[in-house]
Symmetry: none
Subunit: 237 residues, 2 copies
DNA sequence: CAGTGGTCTAGACCACTGG
DNA sequence: CAGTGGTCTAGACCACTGG
């Protein structure tokens, strides 16, 4: 069926076959694809080999598997390309004389269900919550709201954040081994626009940020920038 | 050794053990970790089970494997503030049945001063200009306005963009060797909001994108997304 | 109930690395 | 050469799903 490149491993050949079916539209989102046993039979390989092909594609989010049900074509994912933008954590520090901040909130709260699951905690567990507004030359440039895993950064609430920013402290205690960002345009709540000194219906840039230390989530943050602020290099168009 | 959560699969227990060694610093970057055979013996499992644990951690870039040599602790990754942004060129293609587009503009224009300098042209030189609106399931998801260097992509205007997207064509003719993005929240002009089917004061995400082929600028694009659209993975907070 | 994916075994052969 | 990871087999038992 699939034209094999010489000596391409069999599981890779099966992957290629499946990917061709997906790309050509033969198998549509939501369709059930052949079972491991069927693929093993069709390609004359053991089930473990067929399984490997399917599993790796599932790991890549091209397929979704459910025991007892089968394997299904995933909804088209927004394929992503990594783009380097400003590192917000390094941008703001107290060695910069233009910089200042204001602590709005610094407290322990009980984890709601979603946040608990993201941080690997149980619902109701204690976690740390902070809200800080960052200024450059007395203009508010960022609202930073963080939820912090107390199992990793136990002394988060006890730091003096007029000396070090929350992000700098987090990076010092638990250097991120992975960071995930998500960017969106929003009109923030009045609480945020007020703190940033904006009109109540201002368009803002929202960056959601999750950071890991090894395999544990250290912090989940929401950063709001005034719309006039831009991430990345110079303005082009 | 490892405190197993009851009924956690054995490969997962071995993963936990390894991760503990990494987190505690027992195994440092560059160290060689026990071989599959050694782990299989220590944990009294088959080699395939031990292998699965090690392989999954290698897939997560915590370990690096080389046949004949062994498995080594990876260097801590340099954290870059990478934001995952949709790769428009791959996301939008005509083999995706949910996709469609509408060409608004496809023309040659004379370069204004700023654009000429960005593209390495002289003021008044001809350049190509396109505006395309992309749809997913008949909902507008992106306004794409491009200025294209005619010295690199001379046949840009002659393509049939009902068969291939402008970005896909650009990538085919002059694969980008560098891409720069800049992200901003804006309230677009009525022309844009109208084409996207939005209220006239909608908050939108604007991505400015410049792409290079070797050292020449191929295209300068402005991408506008509805504010409800988000770049990157799932919504967190 | 038959079928599915999830886990696991105890072997095997291979290409490759270092000493 | 002995050891490593990469691939692969032909079985097995399990929890789970739908009809």
């Amino acid at each position: 069926m699939t034209q094999a490149i010489y000596s391409l491993p069999r599981y890779a050949q099966i992957k290629t076959y499946i990917k061709n079916q997906l790309e050509s539209g033969q198998w549509q989102a939501g369709d059930r694809i052949p079972s491991e046993n069927k693929l093993a039979e069709d390609f004359a390989v053991s089930r473990m080999t067929a399984r490997r092909a399917v599993q790796e594609l599932a790991d890549d989010h091209l397929l979704i598997r459910t025991a007892g049900l089968g394997t299904f074509v995933a909804e088209p994912q927004a394929v992503t390309a990594a783009v380097e933008i400003d590192d917000f954590t390094q941008q703001f520090n107290h060695s910069n004389p233009q910089y200042s901040n204001r602590i709005i909130t610094l407290e322990q709260v009980n984890a709601e269900k979603d946040m608990a699951s993201v941080l690997g905690l149980n619902e109701g567990d204690g976690l740390f919550h902070s809200v800080v507004v960052h200024y450059r030359d007395s203009a508010a440039v960022q609202w930073e709201e963080c939820f912090v895993n107390p199992g990793i950064v136990g002394a988060y609430l006890k730091q003096n954040y007029s000396k070090v920013t929350p992000q700098a402290y987090l990076n010092w205690v638990a250097p991120a081994t992975r960071v995930e960002h998500q960017v969106q345009a929003v009109m923030p709540e009045v609480e945020v626009t007020g703190a940033l000194g904006l009109a109540s219906i201002s368009s803002c840039l929202k960056v959601s940020r999750r950071s890991w230390h090894t395999d544990r989530v250290v912090s989940v943050c929401k950063l709001i920038y005034p719309g006039s602020y831009s991430l990345g290099a110079e303005l082009i168009i």
